[in-house]
């Protein structure tokens, strides 16, 4: 899902080998320090693995930031220094939420994992998670970087969203977040076209747009396109319950809607370039496609890659609605059990990854946007400005207000990036979506088993070839082929006999 090129993959493979061979021998040093083993499972390439070049240093005014060692090694050192306890992290990775779930079902044991919000909801509903401790939310502890640094906007989402009467925040601490949108080539696609989910089915872009190869993302886009008129109508937008109504519309799983979505996606299948998980980024950069349904973090990466080839791509957030998603850390009952030492280490791992300098390292390395805004610490905004702020001699600039993310003061003007005008349609708008894009964002909830089954069945039907679609000539051909084989077989048998 999140890839940073072959170089990163090689580094990762190497470092995981090093991690394995570097297993500490138990109590070999003879010291009395107790040891905790923490089993962490995260997305592939979703954490800083260190080993940066000197020239990659992020030279903020408040000081340089560089990833020398991997985040995991730094955590082990920090934990021992801070708490006097040796911790050993067994770090592994997964490819999709479904893979992780299947791994857990098959009996793999982890203490701390980082699935997306809907999988967190599923795990919560199945009572597989250990709640975060009270100490984790203690704002007076200066080592509690998460609670002191999490964006007020994200914090309220985690506290307000519930499943079966329990808030996400009780079990989950956010890690990265983003929205979905369309990366497009401005020479071939107008901004207006890219700002609607209808582009996926637009005959003007026959075989030039890719769509995500998973049922949830495709379902969301299809809903956006099918309900386009309703979602963009004045009446709907002006409704005082707009957000609530929007979320209901974008999580509509009535049988009639599912049938419509199936029909729509079948058309998309005939019109789009491909369903893709990972290849879309490269195909966008090499110009094979004109537009690409993308997660915002990967959109940033795609545009960065294209920039290296002097090829300009842009990002648009569909007018109908955009899917806001989160990946978050949760502790598993099966791993943590009653082990308080382990739980402490797990929570410290979350906190260490929420320390502003580490947040910047992770964001730089993987391209996604952290849920941490830094609280008192201004470095994360400084980093955003360092990435996207205009040079002094820039001619066309535009003010881009992202205060909603950094402070809970309403209508604040404290966090405004003065960016080159074009950035407002490019990386900046994908890294920190605009206030307007956020207002029309909707969470996609975890569907229950029955809904899931219906949607999955719909998806398989879209992807399969229906036997009723087999043309007559193909049936005739089939009969001929079978007859031919039969005749051949009989002749052979006769000759033998």
């Amino acid at each position: 899902m999140r890839k940073k090129g072959i170089y990163r993959a090689a580094v990762m493979a190497l470092s995981s080998i090093l991690l394995c061979t570097g297993l500490p021998s138990f109590a070999a040093s003879g010291e009395e320090t107790p040891e905790v083993t923490l089993r962490v499972c995260n997305w592939e390439e979703y954490i800083d693995l260190g080993d940066w070049d000197e020239e990659e240093t992020i030279d903020l005014e408040s000081g340089d930031i560089i990833g020398e060692n991997s985040m995991v090694e730094d955590f082990e050192a920090w934990y021992e220094e801070t708490y006097g306890i040796k911790v050993h992290v067994e770090y592994s990775t997964f490819g999709t939420n479904e893979d992780l779930y299947n791994m857990l079902t098959l009996g793999d044991v982890y203490d701390l994992v980082c699935p997306s919000e809907y999988m967190i909801m599923k795990l919560m509903a199945e009572d597989k998670l250990e709640p975060l401790s009270e100490d984790f939310f203690d704002e007076t502890d200066e080592n509690n970087y998460y609670i002191n640094g999490v964006s007020p906007y994200i914090r309220s989402i985690f506290e307000e969203n519930e499943i079966e009467g329990e808030a996400w925040a009780k079990y989950a601490a956010g890690y990265m977040w983003g929205i979905t949108g369309i990366v497009y080539n401005p020479e071939l696609v107008t901004k207006e076209d890219a700002s609607s989910w209808n582009i996926l089915n637009d005959p003007a872009y026959y075989r030039q747009v890719t769509i995500k190869d998973n049922v949830r993302d495709s379902y969301f886009a299809a809903l956006g396109a099918l309900k386009s008129d309703l979602l963009t109508s004045e009446e709907f937008l002006q409704d005082p319950d707009y957000s609530k109504n929007l979320e209901a519309e974008m999580n509509d799983t009535s049988p009639e809607t599912i049938a419509l979505v199936q029909e729509y996606l079948q058309d998309v299948k005939k019109n789009a370039y491909s369903f893709e998980t990972d290849s879309g980024k490269a195909d966008m950069v090499t110009g094979k496609v004109a537009a690409n349904y993308q997660w915002s973090g990967d959109a940033v990466y795609t545009m960065d890659q294209a920039d290296e080839d002097d090829f300009t791509l842009a990002f648009a957030v569909p007018e109908e609605s955009t899917n806001i998603y989160f990946d978050g850390w949760v502790m598993l009952k099966s791993g943590i059990g009653e082990d308080a030492a382990k739980q402490h280490a797990a929570e410290a791992f979350i906190n260490f990854n929420s320390r502003p300098d580490n947040v910047i390292r992770n964001m730089y390395y993987i391209g996604y946007t952290s849920v941490i805004s830094g609280g008192e610490d201004e470095r994360i905004f400084e980093y955003a400005d360092w990435c996207y702020g205009a040079e002094e001699d820039e001619e066309e600039v535009e003010d881009y207000n992202i205060s909603y993310f950094f402070t809970d003061e309403e209508d604040s003007e404290d966090y405004v990036i003065t960016a080159p005008a074009e950035q407002v349609d490019r990386q900046l708008s994908a890294q920190y979506p605009s206030r307007e894009a956020i207002e029309r964002s909707s969470i996609m909830v975890y569907f229950n088993n029955e809904q899931n089954e219906a949607i999955n069945q719909m998806w398989i039907s879209v992807r399969c070839y229906n036997i009723n679609d087999v043309p007559v000539w193909a049936w005739i051909l089939t009969v001929c082929a079978i007859a031919l084989v039969a005749v051949f077989g009989v002749r052979n048998a006769k000759r033998r006999g």
């Binding site: 479904e98 075989r207 370039y273 491909s274 094979k288 398989i460 992807r463 070839y465 036997i467």
Partner: protein
């Protein structure tokens, strides 16, 4: 202490262990899942479901269509090639054979990635021809598996049989049709088996060349991603049954003349 001696039987132990662990045990698990529902109760619903669902049947049809077309194209390309190669008096024959085998040494996903670029150059937009691309990709991938068994049979043909045919008045065409072709059937059958079966499930080629339609392999993956392990296992089992049936059918043809260089 006598010297350590291995009986022949004990030499088979490692393989037996391997067989039990990685073939028999997974197969039993597969059968268990195929005939149970989500609650672990015995059921035929998955089996009935497969044969009553227009999507699974359609996928089976589509997979067979892709595999059969690939096999036919491979055969048309491979037979003349193998024939010319086997009959040629070239000293460098083995070098040419090598050039057919060599692609097999290169990682297959790398080859398909290269093919993707080449096809994009030729076709302009890959997504216009999903079925054609699937067939081209598979042919590219499996052609050596068709050439080699045919080449091996023809090269080992007894030349005196052909001489006898000519002595008895057959012209070149007749000699080919009545001697060479029938005697190379085992190689052809072996080649068909080597190409047809993997082509039914090799969905990576379709994925990489942007064919968005599921074949049997991707359908199984789709069921597992939807947490429907039982349905997925049943499809895998049915596929296994089809392969067994196919192998039994082709074995008959091979046994008829077993001196060819059949690979299976």
């Amino acid at each position: 202490m006598g010297k350590i001696s291995f009986s022949r039987k004990s030499l088979g132990i490692p393989y037996t262990l391997f067989l039990v662990l990685f073939v028999v045990a997974p197969l039993l698990v597969l059968i268990y899942y195929a005939f149970t529902n989500g609650q672990g109760q015995f059921t035929f619903a998955n089996l009935v479901g497969f044969f009553t669902n227009p999507n699974t049947l359609g996928t089976l049809f589509y997979s067979v269509a892709v595999a059969a077309t690939t096999t036919a194209v491979c055969l048309l390309l491979a037979y003349p090639t193998a024939y010319i190669l086997a009959k040629s008096k070239l000293k460098a024959k083995s070098v040419i054979v090598m050039t057919f085998i060599m692609p097999m040494w290169i990682n297959f996903s790398l080859r398909i990635t290269a093919l993707k670029e080449i096809l994009t150059l030729i076709e302009g937009n890959l997504a216009y021809y999903p079925f054609l691309n699937a067939v081209i990709g598979m042919t590219y991938d499996f052609l050596p598996f068709m050439i080699l068994p045919i080449y091996n049979t023809i090269v080992k043909l007894d030349e005196s049989l052909l001489e006898a045919a000519r002595d008895l008045g057959a012209n070149e065409t007749e000699a080919f049709l009545k001697v060479t072709l029938p005697l190379s059937v085992p190689g052809i059958v072996s080649g068909i088996a080597m190409v047809f079966l993997p082509a039914m499930t090799n969905y990576v080629v379709l994925d990489m060349l942007y064919n968005s339609t599921y074949i049997m392999g991707s359908l199984i993956g789709g069921y597992f991603a939807a947490y429907n392990w039982n349905g997925g296992s049943m499809i895998a089992l049915i596929l296994l049954a089809i392969i067994c049936l196919f192998t039994l059918l082709t074995r008959g043809a091979e046994e008829e003349n077993s001196r060819g260089g059949a690979l299976l």
